[in-house]
Subunit: 660 residues, 2 copies
């Protein structure tokens, strides 16, 4: 085999004539960051591959587990405009490396030219002599078993040198083509000048329905904390709704100093439970459990009970401390200090958060601090937790996250980190590139058709799809959007369907199923009497809940593989500004789903939607079946344009299964 | 000054907390290739610059001549969405380097936060103490002259610590702001991790009107070669038309072996002059002049005469040989060989070009070959030629061109290389990235409105503008487009105006001014009786020439700076599919040109065009003057939408100068 050169070299010398390999996809920021995929996903790799002149080229993907020695190869094929494409399927939940190789195929080039000459009735005597030389070169790498075939070929070429028809037949012979594919005569063999990394996550990184809850609100006794035992009792209810992940707000001891009272008031009275994000007291810090919730064993029982019910527990990780956190005494050097030597509260001038000390991740002793933060994650991994929702990652150094996630996933590749950053778009993207498995999005604030379409095309159709997985929360303890406050039960159904079908990962914060919509103040997105600051008892079966609707939507997700994929979103045409139409398909069109949602919670809306049937493998004249999985009605449609009518008081959406 | 870190580092250690600097523009393929600009051009550099948290950042461009030691700095300012922008003006025709630096401005961050606290009536005693610490740190780098001012500032801050209004006044004081700008307190000082290169060309690389001619056709005696003396006699005619560059087809001795006859026939008779691209005979090769044209002194006289008339001579460089070229005898190892040991002709199966031997740029002795090719360029530079139009660069190794152009421009930065590649788009782009100063385009084959707009938006509005300068030839010796064959005089006027105003560089091949439009065959783009294969005598003043029209267009280009810029093209709305409307403006709107062209050479077309007056600094209610520079008529327009009517039999275009 020829010596491999590096792509696109310049300067005189031995390395001058490589093949150009560029515009590789996926390649995040020139290879500075890894791309992401899922175990068993068919990863498509594309590149521009070309060379001066008109030679026939060949190319392949080379890939391997980062920890492996040898490379696997997967062929690439030309498809258009110097663009080549291939696929590979990573089979393990670990980091992979991939790169490309291209070459000029000497024998194929000769075949193509000789074929043209034969057809053009040009004298080929000299070409046959050349070709025999190439075939002889090919023979050098051939197996003993193939050598006689090659000798015969050489003999036949010699005999045919005056008979273009015979040469044509030889060149086009399947056996010859097979030999050439087996022993390609590679010249100008060129390696892409970068080795790229791919994070191969487990399936839960792409597909999952999340249910967020405050453990202390899962009980039945007013003004008293619920326990993990109460949480275990709620598992069947959550399972029945079809959720995959139960995500808990912080479970650690809560500080007393400057504790917040109900509705975020200062000077809380003695009985106020405080915010779970004011982490740490004399009872312990980030590795401790609030005694009101139970013991470590109770927690481990909860994790186990969830697992036995096919669900996982996710923890909220907030790297900040209450003034009473043990770190404040043991490691004052990890905090910011005022000129008078005291530790600085969190602030966003002129606002102050007196119950929180931020950590100084750039302090002189930062390596110890970083190591300690990492040990918190590892601690909970050892307790059975594999999913961490990270609070406000954008207020810590960006490089810290890369260091932390790389470090944890090296030993625990199954770990999922979910970035709760609602900040400027480029910072959110950078966090995802730095390693976060999933990310929050602006979904809650995208309610109009144009903004939904634009945002989700950015998320799933641009290079963001290679590193950023948007997990759509329909509400959070901090975000009760005006749409939900004012739109009633239809608004909740609309946002649920959107979240559950626009992305393969979505979540709700408990109370959503009850259509809870009372805000703290008219222009506020804060809940009234938020669980963040007080004990609450919920009637999980109160009138007007939409639990059956949620269960139905989650069951549709579970039984339609197309909805379990993230990057396959496609929007379809609808004229009515209140009707959003989109869909998802599996790569082989084996499962095709089309969703139409009435974005208007108040009025009936109707429209002619238009489907790209050619993509679905359906001819315009063919009748096809659309099965509304929400209400189990079936319709026969024909042609791309069809009528839909959505009454928000009945069901504000169709989720159609399309069958040829 | 703080230690400079590299941008976006990861991993624990000293380098962890840099500022992110990314998405820098211009930056060609991640910095693999240099961007291009012109001496004296105000180069805009942009980047995404951000950091975790909410600190106030600062940033600058650093730039220098490649050969210089120290860096110059130019400030950058934030403008939107974490995007920063700055400019610098390279003053010399040489290669420059540029990079970026960003930092957290400690004192500005403190000022912003303290200002908010003052306004929010929050206690600031501790903040003042902190601020005094920062001001003291700033004092360390202050000049002796400024130190008393800083001491006074510290004193005043101490006095004001209980009086937020006084603190506010101090923070907002111009003298304080000036001191902070002079001695910024830079933390997290971060250097962009790449140093980028910029080719700074002379103005002719961006702006010029080219006139291509066959020297042997410039005389008056039939069936006889003209000479450089005849060429000199034609200078006034070409100058009168307003051209800047006279570009000559190859001027070297022409081979005899397999010489082509008129209309590309084989077996030419003894008197056929042959194709000038079949370079080399026993009379010499690429460094010799065809004796029929004159002596080297005659050529140098021609170069001088052109220069004295404000024009430059450009040469056609075709790195290929006739079988009679001295290289074939002296360096047979530079060519491809057939199995029988003879040298291989050029071919594109099944076509053969028996009068040409291609060079094997990858031959074993390639360093000698490459050096010889470079010596050809240097030879002609020494004869006074600074512009080279390179024939078929895409059939030679891509890396060869980078090596050649880098090498030549190192000693002769004024040299301009113009790539004559009509091949796949990515190969054409790669040649431009590899160093070609200008490139041919698909312009001749873009005649409809939509395709013109799409193509020119790609050329001038995408990142292509950073490295690819399209020089628009309205015709070439190989391309007489059907539009010109069939559209008559209006077609020639249309294509001239388009070429001359869509790009700042354009050209015609002689005969265009005579509306010469006879093709060799109906579906062919070849000229009938092409000058490529025979002597020709032209009547340069024959009826129906459009020389005055060309002169007028070139004069408009010469007197309107907006038309001398390449990247400032903008399309304007017109509804009629036959009317293309676009314009160019200088950065300060000091010169604003709007062009409307009737793309239909047969019919009168009319339309309401729509101008973005807000970009022009004109209010919708204001009257403004449009001066048609082609026919010297002036109109008063008001509002964005105005009527145009273009009769191809009169003038198929308006070139409007817009005046407020």
């Amino acid at each position: 085999m020829a010596k491999t050169r590096k792509s696109a070299q310049s300067g005189a010398g031995e390395e001058m004539d490589g093949i150009v390999i560029e515009k590789v996809s996926p390649e995040v920021d020139g290879g500075k960051f890894p791309a992401k995929c899922i175990v068993g996903e068919m990863v498509t790799v594309e590149a521009d591959i070309f060379k001066d002149g008109h030679d026939v080229l060949g190319a392949c993907i080379k890939f391997k587990k980062k920890s492996d020695e040898g490379w696997d190869e997967s062929p690439m094929t030309f498809f258009d405009n110097d663009r080549w494409r291939g696929t590979f399927v990573p089979q393990a939940n670990t980091r992979y490396l991939y790169t490309l190789e291209a070459w000029m195929d000497r024998l194929l080039t000769w075949c193509r030219d000789t074929e043209k000459k034969c057809l053009g009735k040009v004298d080929i005597k000299s070409d046959i002599l050349e070709g025999i030389g190439f075939v002889k070169a090919m023979a050098k790498s051939a197996s003993e078993g193939d050598k006689p075939k090659i000798d015969l070929l050489i003999k036949n070429l010699k005999l045919a040198q005056d008979q273009p028809e015979k040469v044509l037949a030889l060149i086009r012979d399947q056996n010859f083509l097979k030999l050439m594919a087996k022993y390609p005569l590679k010249e100008h063999l060129t390696a892409y000048d970068k080795t790229l990394e791919m994070v191969v996550d487990r399936s839960c990184a792409e597909f999952g329905a999340w249910y967020e809850l405050f453990p202390r609100s899962q009980g039945k006794i007013p003004n008293k904390s619920a326990t993990f035992k109460d949480c275990i009792a709620r598992i069947p209810d959550i399972k029945k709704m079809g959720f995959d992940i139960i995500y808990l707000t912080p479970i650690h001891p809560i500080g007393l100093t400057n504790r917040k009272g109900p509705n975020n008031t200062l000077n809380a009275d003695r009985n106020a439970p405080g915010s779970p994000w004011a982490i740490g007291s004399e009872l312990g810090g980030h590795k401790a459990i609030h005694p009101e919730l139970g013991t470590m064993k109770d927690f481990e029982d909860y994790v186990r009970a969830a697992r036995e019910n096919g669900m996982e527990i996710a923890l909220d990780i907030a790297f900040q401390c209450s003034p009473d956190h043990p770190y404040a005494k043991e490691h004052p050097e990890w905090f910011y200090h005022l000129p008078d030597g005291t530790i600085r509260y969190a602030e966003n001038p002129p606002k102050k958060y007196e119950d929180i000390y931020p950590l100084d991740f750039n302090c002189a002793d930062r390596q110890a601090l970083w190591d300690e933060m990492k040990s918190i994650i590892v601690f909970w991994i050892e307790k059975g937790v594999k999913i961490f929702r990270v609070d406000n990652p954008h207020t810590k150094p960006l490089s810290f996250w890369k260091w932390l996630i790389d470090g944890v996933q090296k030993d625990h590749p199954e770990t999922i980190f979910f970035a709760e950053a609602f900040t400027r778009p480029k910072v959110m993207k950078y966090l995802a590139k730095s390693g976060f498995t999933q990310s929050y999005t602006y979904f809650t604030w995208r309610n109009a058709k144009a903004e939904l379409r634009q945002y989700f095309e950015e998320l799933t159709q641009t290079d963001m799809k290679d590193y950023y997985r948007g997990n759509l929360f329909a509400n959070t303890p901090d975000i009760l959007h005006e749409f939900l406050q004012t739109g009633g039960r239809p608004a909740f159904q609309i946002r649920l369907v959107l979240a559950a079908t626009l992305s393969s990962s979505y979540g709700i914060y408990s109370g959503f199923e009850l259509c809870e919509n009372k805000a703290k103040a008219p222009a506020s997105e804060e809940y009234l009497d938020s669980e963040k600051y007080q004990y609450k008892v919920w009637d999980w079966n109160r009138a007007d809940h939409i639990k059956e609707f949620i269960a139905k939507v989650n069951q549709i997700r579970a039984s339609n593989p197309a909805l379990q994929l993230y990057k396959n979103l496609e929007f379809h045409h609808s004229s009515n500004e209140a009707i959003l139409c989109y869909g998802k398909r599996t790569r082989d069109n084996g499962n095709m789903v089309v969703v139409t949602v009435n974005l208007d919670p108040f009025r009936v809306q109707e429209d002619q939607i238009c489907l790209p049937l050619w993509k679905f493998g359906i001819e315009d004249w063919q009748t096809y079946q659309v099965h509304d999985l929400l209400n189990n009605k079936k319709y026969s449609w024909k042609g791309p344009s069809n009528y839909v009518r959505l009454d928000p008081q009945v069901t504000p959406a169709h989720i159609f299964l399309i069958k040829k």
